[in-house]
């Protein structure tokens, strides 16, 4: 049995989406400008984008770059962050460098990296990798630092060597925090992907958006916004499901990570 209250709270995000679309509809009807189509018009334009082979290939390529960039960042950032969390010297070595890199707009490196590596997948993937790494490093660092000393001692008393403790105690113990970083990273990967494509204007989802803007196809612009927005919401929800399952043993945390942190 599902109680009405639980059903309401389950469907609340969906209701929120509908509410936002309604607000959009009303705003656009009130403003009555040609360049601001109603929500219904935009939604009607979605199938034509998703039905178009070229657009699909473009969006697919975007997602592939995002997946590769994010995976590379995860493989690189988690071990580095955990080492920083457990070994003081490693933390002192990397922290100032990371602090300086932190406020650099990573997507803004796009023109420079394009100069070196061309406009291909490599540059875009590299920019996504750079954009995503920092929050994952930061959260892995915090997670690794917070692992209870006594837990490591218990492991040592059982005969676990230092590398074993790293893999079998620090990694699982820090996992909730690491996954919080990965969730931020996922959203950030999408942001960096769209931004870099808007700046480079070669291919991808961000490019479709601005091409449509240039050609005054306003329905397409807003439809593409819906698609990218939906990608953000769906990726985040899917990852949250996965995270909840992976760390079902841990105490529940904040249900929204502070993005970028």
């Amino acid at each position: 049995m599902i109680t009405p209250g639980a059903a309401l709270s389950k469907s609340a995000p969906l209701l929120a989406c509908i509410g936002l679309l309604c607000a959009w509809q009303v705003a656009s009807l009130a403003l009555q400008t040609e360049s601001f189509p109603t929500a219904l018009e935009a939604i009607r334009a979605v199938p034509s984008i998703l039905g178009d082979k070229e657009s699909l290939v473009n969006i697919g390529a975007s997602i592939r770059r995002m997946a590769i960039g994010l995976s590379l960042a995860v493989l690189f950032a988690i071990p580095l962050g955990l080492l920083m969390g457990r070994i003081k010297g490693v933390a002192s070595f990397f922290n100032p460098l990371l602090m300086i890199i932190y406020p650099v707009p990573k997507a803004a490196l796009m023109p420079i990296i394009m100069l070196w590596m061309g406009v291909g997948d490599m540059s875009k993937t590299l920019v996504i990798f750079l954009g995503v790494s920092l929050p994952i490093i930061y959260h892995s660092f915090q997670g690794g630092k917070a692992v209870e000393e006594k837990m490591l001692w218990s492991g040592a008393a059982m005969g676990l060597s230092a590398p074993q403790r790293m893999l079998r105690i620090v990694l699982p113990a820090a996992l909730p925090e690491i996954l919080t970083g990965c969730r931020t990273g996922l959203v950030l990967a999408l942001i960096t992907m769209v931004t870099s494509e808007m700046i480079a204007r070669q291919s991808g989802a961000g490019n479709i958006l601005f091409n449509a803007l240039d050609m005054a196809q306003y329905d397409t612009v807003f439809a593409m916004i819906i698609i990218i927005g939906a990608m953000g919401i769906l990726f985040d929800a899917a990852f949250e499901k996965l995270r909840g399952w992976l760390v079902r043993w841990s105490k529940p945390q904040h249900d929204m990570p502070l993005s970028f942190s």
Binding site: S154, A156, A157, W249
Partner: protein, 283 residues
Amino acid sequence: MKVVSLRSDVQAEPAALPGVAPAMAMIHIDHVSQRFQTSGRQSHLALSDINLTIEDGAFVSILGPSGCGKSTLLYIVGGFVQPSDGAAKVKGKVITGPGPDRGPVFQEFALFPWKNVLGNVMYGLRQQGVKKTDAEAKSRKLLEMVGLKGYENFYPKELSGGMKQRVAIARTLAYNPAVLLMDEPFGALDAHTRTRLQNDLLTIWERDRKTVLFVTHSVEEAVFLSDKVVVMTRSPGSIKVVVDIDLPRPRKRAELLLDPRYQKYVVDIEKLIDDTGEDEIHA
């Protein structure tokens, strides 16, 4: 380095038991001092010239005011902390690091939160290379012994403090260490749970008589459980006196609490602590 000789005048009392043959000694703490670096160039002497011998199968409690370094002493025996001076030995061998011959039980439980109860107890056995089915059978038996049958698949977050500590004790007993190192194990529990765990610990201990080093700040707990109570002074921590608790075993709580000998031990030791604890006000 010279601190050792300076404190030698206090050494008469602890009675390093020179007569006891080293072969009989399970743990031998030999002129151990511990200095901690505080801010800048300052350092703080936490333990000063500790000498203590613990025989095989003895239940020894270390008692003292908070901040007297009693936990640090336990960590040194565990091999988690290296002493600045002197050495601790187990079965005649100098302790250089943690090992499965000395199993810790912490006040903070330190269970692995990503493993369920059974997984926690099996962890050490699997680490020792015990086959999975054997490890599981042994762990289930241990869990039954500590009164947690039926909780095998629970995660630590679903357990109360007392249950967590029962799991932690089972987890350590599982890999059968020669020495149990208990660091205020019942300090975070409520009075009722605490009493029950003391009783259960005593029952388990009287069955196989492992060597136990037990740190606590409760006089009643120390007298109730131990063969010997080591009373420490604070800042720098040193041994004030070692009291032999000459009470019959197996001990029953209901009888013991009424026993005038038990009551006298408690009152006497409390007096000793009062003498050492006067500077607590200045802390």
